[in-house]
């Protein structure tokens, strides 16, 4: 990111995850995508009961095991070893996507390449001629969960905005995103476009607008 000389510091990936975790209340059923979203679980205290779901048929994922306690039969959708907490259960893949498509998840948090001010999300393919495309459960999760939050850097490494008027990458879903957590701000997607809820200390709305293609509006 081409950072202006400024007194603000972007959030680290861990800080982004912690910021998102703050907003997840007890009792929600939540699916976390690969990347920063996966880190969110580490920041939800175990006593705040949030029930994490994985596409491969797990409800009630617990903390990652240490090397001595790995169960080789227990991986999440990112193919990482996980644990099952008391109250967890297994379902098959069709039921698992019934959970997703049927709007039983309170929340899904996904990474993305771009989010448009209309809530469109592009997160599965970076060009029209990808060497070997892969979509996984992203499209199902994006249309199915009751709320879709996106966690991503505010701009690309080259400084190109990721919050755009219209996505340039292939779409994952139309009008699906409710909120975006970036390393600089938290923004709701509203009928009037992106509304800024929260920014890192020291950052102004003008600073943020400069790093954003879509027009931002302040929280009223």
């Amino acid at each position: 990111m081409s950072r202006p000389t400024a007194s603000w510091t972007p959030l680290s990936r861990t800080e982004m995850a912690a910021r998102i975790a703050r907003d997840i209340p007890e009792g929600w059923y939540v699916n976390l995508g690969i990347g920063v979203p996966t880190l969110v679980a580490d920041h939800v205290p175990i006593e705040r009961e949030v029930i994490f779901h994985a596409e491969n048929g797990i409800l009630g994922i617990g903390p990652a095991p240490d090397a001595a306690h790995v169960d080789p039969w227990l991986i999440n959708a990112g193919k990482q070893y996980v644990t099952l907490r008391a109250g967890g259960s297994y379902i098959h893949h069709a039921d698992s996507f019934g959970v997703i498509r049927g709007a039983h998840l309170d929340l899904c948090v996904l990474g993305a390449y771009e989010v448009a001010e209309t809530g469109d999300i592009a997160n599965w393919a970076t060009s029209e001629h990808d060497t070997a495309p892969a979509v996984g459960g992203a499209m199902d999760l994006a249309v199915g969960a009751r709320r879709l939050w996106v966690a991503m850097e505010h701009t690309t490494k080259e400084g190109r905005p990721r919050l755009v008027r219209a996505c340039s990458y292939p779409l994952t879903a139309i009008g699906a995103v409710a909120r975006v957590y970036t390393n600089l701000a938290v923004l709701d997607v509203t009928p009037g476009g992106f509304r800024v809820l929260d920014m890192v200390p020291g950052l102004t709305l003008d600073d943020l607008q400069e790093l954003t293609e879509a027009t931002l509006s302040p929280a009223s």
Binding site: E26, G27, Y29, E47, E49, I51, H53, L59, G60, L84, A86, G87, G88, S89, Y90, I91, A94, D95, F97, G98, V99, I100, R101, G102, A103, H104, L105, G144
Partner: protein, 226 residues
């Protein structure tokens, strides 16, 4: 701490509105949430659409609810069973609308609602009175009927065991429609014979995971009576 248990049938049924669509688990007398169904009478909710395989028998459960005049419409596969006299007299008197649905289509329409599938094609009913007026289409050389998802505002479930996250197991043929209506209800309410501690149910053997369940009431009411 998540705790979906509520203290009473009244608490369990809180907030059910007039005009709601209520999905009932159970097949005949087995696996019916009789106390919850009868509890609907006390809530005062009226003008209900009830979805159930059978239309009740004697003066218990659904038959009592029908007798109390709270049901406007029944969506049902096999309303006429031994003892379904209350249903039959209301139906004959034109005081109850009936939508007759093949049993498998009934189950699949609720499963579709729970799984986010708004409509599907099925070979069942093609060329019969129950498909009259419905859209048909040839797929794979065979004619099929288009059927729509059947979601409920409320689903009433009977379970054998439940824990505080709402994970459920059933007993024998008491399973029947219960896991299906549990998926399809926007508000899924369970009466359970037994309470399990969280973690007591083997995760491999949970039939309805708690994600489909909103409220549970513990009612150790004993065996079904045919």
């Amino acid at each position: 701490m998540i705790d979906k248990f509520v203290a009473s049938v009244v608490d369990a049924l809180h907030g059910i509105e007039d005009g709601s669509t209520i999905l009932l688990g159970g097949f005949g007398a087995v696996g019916q949430a009789t106390h919850l169904i009868e509890g609907l009478i006390e809530t005062g909710a009226k003008d209900l659409t009830v979805v159930a395989n059978n239309a009740g028998y004697g003066r218990v459960g659904l038959a009592r609810l029908l007798e109390a005049g709270r049901v406007r419409k029944l969506i049902c596969s096999f309303p006429r069973i031994a003892g379904s006299t209350i249903f039959e007299s209301l139906y004959r008197a034109g005081r109850l609308e009936l939508e007759l649905v093949p049993q498998g289509t009934l189950a699949e329409r609720m499963r579709a609602a729970g799984a986010g599938v708004p409509a599907f094609f099925t070979p069942t009913g093609v060329g019969t009175r129950l498909a009259e007026g419905k859209e048909t289409r040839e797929v794979g050389g065979r004619i099929h009927v288009l059927e729509y998802a059947l979601p409920g505002d409320v689903a009433l479930v009977e379970a054998w065991q439940a824990d505080r996250w709402g994970n459920l197991r059933y007993r024998a043929a008491g399973r029947n429609f219960n896991p299906v209506v549990a998926m399809a209800g926007r508000l899924t309410i369970v009466q359970t014979q037994h309470v399990a501690k969280l973690g007591e149910l083997d995760p491999e053997t949970v039939v309805t995971p708690g994600i489909f369940v909103d409220r549970v009431v513990h009612l150790p009411h004993g065996d079904p009576v045919l």
